[in-house]
Each structure stands twice: as structure tokens, then as C-alpha cells.
């Protein structure tokens, strides 16, 4: 146990000294990213540090909202005016790769930048892979998490944070009490007047995100190996049925819960559990009297551990034919430096998660509640790897919503959603050629 971090440090030290730093003539490279919130000053500090440490590279950073970049990147690439380095998110990256906007990072490229693929969490690294090649290096990572109310759990005698379906159901049942003090299953229990409850099943984008996590836990992805929508399998239905059952069968969730109503209920101490992104942590920390913890999303599915994750990746867009090779080398140097453990550790103070185990094991996290989430990080899976994430997620979210709201049976909802997604994929294929 003690040896492991030591060997990792040694291996990393070896890796970082092994690569030749950029020694060419002084170049200026442009860097476009979408960290426009409180994370912006932290990114700017990192760029400043890089420029100070690299006298022959000048990085000019520009921050603009993500949506603007998604709209502008294709025309910029087409006209040969793309920035040297662009940050692209997990749900967009495969689309840009398939449309030819981003260049692959070869083994030689990675070596030039001193980037060691193996040091990152593997599902996170593979988020930017397409047809066996890598196109981006993860710089930022977020994940779906479970927040739990310690006081409420103690009140209802739950001593262990649930990690699987049986534990979660038992805990959720104990937490669900109506205004008359009755639990689900007791005679006269009124699910419409709940005092406290386990967790509300929500719809919309967050509902689709939670459902996707359970789907992955059942061993199913949204698409199959041919990248067609393939979620309406029996295992897929089982995952969504479990969510629907929490409302109708187990009665541990109120009907018509929304993402916002569940956030409010958790803040007010009315729910034991809340599923949302790691980005909610700061809001919950600021809630007076809320004694809570954060843990990996429990395994509500039947086959494996999994949770939704989002990420941002440093990429090298396609450039015009006579592009300066030194710029690409400098850009690789920048990407390599930015994604090193020291920089990632500094970056996570903006609310992101470590991109690599080395960072997660850092001592500075010992008293930080966020570390409760770290053991789940190797099992975080983005909606990525197919160029039509928008189409598939749109149809998936709508199917989950129709099932949860009881507008369709689970089977019909998923089959209709899958058909819709596949029609859209057929159209998208024609545009990709």
C-alpha cells in the first residue's frame, strides 16, 4: 500500500523528464476555452504560470461561452483560422472529430508533449477517443454524485451509506414517512403527503443523466458497436422500470419531482438522498444546518459500477496546409504541462474532479468532503464516442420523461425513443458522408 504512491511518483517523474521540452523559436499560440465562471481566474493563473515557465512560448488565452464555441469552431476550421488549442466538452467532441475539425494525437504527439495516457482515469481518457485514435487530453472532469443527509439518516437508523440497490431501497424506505408518520407499505400510507422521503425521481436533463447511469450499470450503453441507438433492450427496460417503481411500487419518491424541487427538498432536510452533479457541492456547503456527505452514485443497476460524467478536453483543431509545425509542438507542450498532476490539483479548486489517481491521492484532500466521491472516479462514463450525442440524448431524455411521468409504458417509451434516435442518426450519417 505504501509502495504504490511512491512508484507512481517515480514513474511520473521519469515521464516528465523523459520528454524533450519545446526548444524551437519563440511562438505565440492561441487557446480558446469556455471556463467563463468562477473558474476563469484559476485558468488565467495557470496560463500565466505556463508563460512564465516557458520563455519561448506565449499562450494567448480567450474565454467565451461554450455554446458560442460550438457554433464558431466549424466555420473557423473551414476558413483556416482555428485557434491552436481548443477545449471541447464530452458531448461535443466526437461530433467535431467525425466532422474532421480536430486532429488525432499520435503516439509521437503524446510523447512530444510528455503526456502519459495511462496516468489518467481510463474511461475519462477514452471519452475523446474515436475509432481507435485519441483526440483530446482531459483537463476538467465532473460526475454525478450522491449527496446524503447525515442527520436524517441517523434519525431513521441508517448507519451505512448505501452503495447498491438493496441498501438504497431499504434506506429510502426508512426515510419515507408521510404526515401521519407511516412508512410505505403500511396500511393508510399516503404517498401524496410526505413529511420526508428517500429520493425523488426527476425528469428532464438530470433525469436522463441519472437514468443513463443506471443503464450503464445494467451493462447497456445508449448506442451499440455500430453507433446506432440501442437502449430499448430488456436490460435497458429493467433500468428505467426500477426508476418508475420508486414512484409507484416502492413509493419512496413523490410523483412529479423536478430537479429543482429535489434540490430544495434536500436543502430543507426533507430528503435523505439527492442525485446531482458534483457542482452542487458549494451550494450545499453554504446551507445552514445541512449536515451532509457526498459519495459515489450507488450501484442501482444489476451488473457493474457506473456513473455519468462530464469532461473537457484539450484538443488541436485542424489547421491550414502551411501551418507552422513549431506551433503544434508548442501546443503539445502546453497541453502536456496543463494536464500534469500539479496543474490538475491547482485546477480542482475551481470545483472539478481529479483527472488522474495521482491527484486524487493528494494529502490536501484529506479533510475535503469531495474526497468521498473519489473512489467512484474510475467508473465514470461520459455520453461520448458517437457523433450524434445530441440526437441520442434528446430522444433518451424524452423517453425517460415519458416513462417516469407515466405517459407511456417503459417498453413503449424506450422503443419510441430508440426509433426516433435512429431516424435522426440516419439523417446525420448522410451529412457526415
Amino acid at each position: 500500500m505504501n509502495l504504490k504512491p511512491l512508484t507512481l511518483i517515480l514513474a511520473l517523474a521519469a515521464a516528465s523528464t523523459a520528454h524533450a521540452e519545446y526548444t524551437g523559436p519563440k511562438v505565440e499560440i492561441t487557446y480558446l476555452h469556455g471556463f467563463t465562471g468562477p473558474d476563469r481566474p484559476i485558468m488565467e493563473q495557470l496560463v500565466k504560470k505556463f508563460n512564465e515557465a516557458h520563455p519561448n512560448i506565449e499562450v494567448k488565452a480567450q474565454a467565451q461561452p461554450w455554446g458560442t464555441t460550438w457554433q464558431q469552431l466549424a466555420p473557423l476550421v473551414a476558413s483556416g483560422r482555428a485557434p491552436d488549442v481548443v477545449v471541447i466538452n464530452e458531448d461535443q467532441i466526437t461530433g467535431f472529430v467525425a466532422r474532421g475539425a480536430v486532429t488525432p494525437l499520435t503516439a509521437a504527439d503524446l510523447k512530444a508533449g510528455g503526456i502519459n495516457k495511462a496516468s489518467f482515469y481510463q474511461p475519462l481518457w477514452k471519452t475523446a477517443d474515436y475509432k481507435g485514435r485519441s483526440y483530446g487530453v482531459p483537463i476538467h472532469s465532473v460526475a454525478l454524485a450522491m449527496y446524503y443527509n447525515k442527520d436524517l439518516m441517523k434519525k431513521y437508523g441508517i448507519s451505512k451509506v448505501p452503495t447498491n440497490r438493496a441498501e438504497f431501497l431499504a434506506a429510502a424506505k426508512a426515510c419515507t414517512v408521510d404526515k401521519g408518520g407511516k412508512n410505505p407499505g403500511e396500511a393508510g400510507f399516503d404517498p401524496k403527503n410526505l413529511q420526508t422521503w428517500g429520493n425523488g425521481v426527476v425528469n428532464g436533463w438530470m433525469g436522463g443523466t441519472i437514468a443513463y447511469s443506471v443503464l450503464r450499470q445494467n451493462g447497456v450503453n445508449l448506442v451499440d458497436k455500430d453507433l446506432n441507438a440501442a437502449f430499448a433492450t430488456p436490460a435497458g427496460q429493467e433500468a428505467i422500470q426500477f426508476l418508475v417503481d420508486q414512484i409507484n411500487k416502492y413509493q419512496t419518491s413523490p410523483a412529479n419531482a423536478t430537479e429543482q424541487s429535489e434540490i430544495n427538498a434536500f436543502r430543507q432536510g426533507k430528503t435523505c438522498f439527492n442525485f446531482n452533479g458534483v457542482w452542487m457541492l458549494e451550494q450545499y456547503k453554504g446551507q445552514d444546518g445541512l449536515n451532509f456527505g457526498i459519495a459515489p452514485f450507488p450501484q442501482l443497476g444489476t451488473k457493474m459500477k457506473a456513473a455519468w460524467g462530464g469532461s473537457s478536453h484539450l484538443t488541436l483543431p485542424k489547421q491550414r496546409a502551411n501551418y507552422d509545425k513549431n506551433k503544434r509542438l508548442a501546443a503539445l507542450e502546453f497541453i502536456g504541462w496543463m494536464t500534469q498532476p500539479a496543474q490538475n490539483l491547482f485546477w480542482t479548486q475551481a470545483g472539478g474532479l481529479p483527472t488522474q489517481a495521482k491527484v486524487a491521492s493528494d494529502k490536501s484532500y484529506d479533510n475535503n468532503p469531495i474526497s468521498g466521491l473519489f473512489e467512484g472516479l474510475p467508473n465514470v462514463y461520459a455520453t461520448s464516442g458517437y457523433p450524434w450525442v445530441g440526437q441520442v440524448r434528446g430522444a433518451w431524455d424524452a423517453a425517460v420523461e415519458a416513462a417516469i411521468l407515466g405517459k407511456k409504458t417503459v417498453k413503449d417509451a424506450l422503443e419510441d425513443g430508440m426509433n426516433e434516435a435512429n431516424k435522426q442518426i440516419d439523417q446525420a450519417r448522410k451529412t457526415l458522408q
Binding site: P75, A78, G204, N256, K407
Partner: protein, 317 residues
Amino acid sequence: MSDMTSNTALPKKRSRKMTHNNTHPIVPWLYLLPHAIFFLGFIVFPVFYGLYISMHRWDPLLESQPFVGLEFYANLFKAGTPQSEFFWKTFVNTTLFTVISVPLLVGTSIGLAVLLFKPIFGRAFFRSIFFMPGILSVSVMGILWKWLFENQSGLVNIILTEYLKLPPIPFLTSEGWAWVPIVVGTVWWTIGFNMTLYLAAMNNIPKAIYEAAELDGATNWQQFRFITWPNLSATTLFVVVTTVLGSFQLFGQPQLITGGGPTRSTQSVIMYITEEAFSNNQFSSAAAMSFVFGVLMLVFTAFQFWLQTRDLRKGKK
């Protein structure tokens, strides 16, 4: 006036001649040029380029943009395509919103204008109060009304359950009810602008007409019906046309309040076109939908002009 008309014809003639001579024929064109450049660059060119995009399989990154003719237009009318299903579904949604919200927006704004035209106490204060929401951005307005109508913790449901002892209404997840926060929020948000237009127009109605009517014993309602309302018809035409067009362009409110849900029941046409272009990367299909939607808007506007100028045309006959 009389002084000017009584002037002799001679200087008039000369001055006309002079201006004619001093002005180089190109000068008026130069005055028009700045606007023409922007108009051609930002209106005419995009329209024709959009038409080109809608008839080709277009993506900025594709090496060739094959001509597909009317394929993307046909998709809107061919059963079984996602476009034929969602474009018309969202069109019906948007029309529903327009049919509900326009009478409310016009009716309440004229009602407020009538009330605030009278010299009542605190008139300027109330005029500002009703105008003020209009200066908020759609994101602020959207979040505000989403909070108010939140299913469990929203103020409206707290009032319903805690004070009126009624069952809560899941506004954000019920088809139908989901329109309530969108419509009410929009009325609250945009009413001030139309109200101000009406107030300005009412200033132009001569007071003497009201005084004469009062002497003849006309009631308040009769004064409104036979003096105010007919004198405001030009303003009403403008207000109705701009409000209808504005309502059809519905985007931000459902985007923020309901996200277009539940199950696309509050998704507007513009939201769907945006989804097709920027989420699905189907730019040509989105361009084709924009043109079809644009033509439908033109038809609606022409119909409204015809409907509301009927009186004028009758008078001329």
C-alpha cells in the same frame, strides 16, 4: 403658414432650381449607402445564403456541399420523419401560445393604459412599475417564474397547499398546466411596452371630443367604445402585429421555465429549429424550417392587415 404661402412664386422657383443644381445626383445614394451596406450584408445576403444552405447538404466542414433540391422541405411534409412530427407539433404549441397570450397582452395593456391615463394618485409610479419588468433579461424572468411555479417548493404551490388547503398542481410536469407560468410570466414581462404605446397614442386624442361626449351624457364605457377604441385602431394594428410576431418567436421563456417539456409539449418552433441546427448539426434542415416558418409568418401578418383594415376599405367604397 399664410406668410409662407403668400410669398411670390419667383424665389420659390429659384430655390427649387438651386437645390436641384447644387446636388450632385450621387449624393442621395451616398446617404443611403451606409444603411444599404448593412441591409445587403446582414439581411439580403443571409437570406439568399440561407436559401442556398436549405437546398444543399451543408456543413462548413464538408469538402463538397451536394445539391439536394427540396429534400429538407419535403421532410417537413413526409410522414415518418422526425421533422414532420416535431416541426408541426412545435408549430401547434407556438400557435397555442400566441392565441392565448396575444389577447391577454393586448387587452391588459389597453386596460392598464386606460386606468393610468386618468390623473390618478401615483400615476407615474404605477407606470414605471408596470414598465419595469420589461427591462429584465429573459434569463432573470425565466428563473423567477420557474421558482414561483416549482412543483413542490414554488410560492404558488405553497399558497395552494398551506393556505388554501388545496392539492398542489405540478405545473412544470403537466401538459397544459406548464403553459401557465410561461403565459403569465410573458404577460408580466412584456405588458409595459404595449401599455406605453397605448398611453402615447391616447395623448393624441383631442380632449374636446371627450368633453363634448360628456356633455351629451356618454358613460365611461361609451367614451371608450366610441372615442378611445376607434382612435387607437392604428396603434392596435401595430401592437397586435408586433405582439403576434413576437409571440411566434417564443424561445427564452419555455427554454428556461420548462425546457420545452413535459415531452415537448411547450417546445416552440424556434426552440426546435435551434435544436436541429446546433444540437443535431442539421443546418440545412434547420434553414429549410426557418423559411417555411417565415412564409407562414408572412401569411399571418398579411391576414391580420387585411382583417384590421377592413373598416378602412369599407369606408373608401
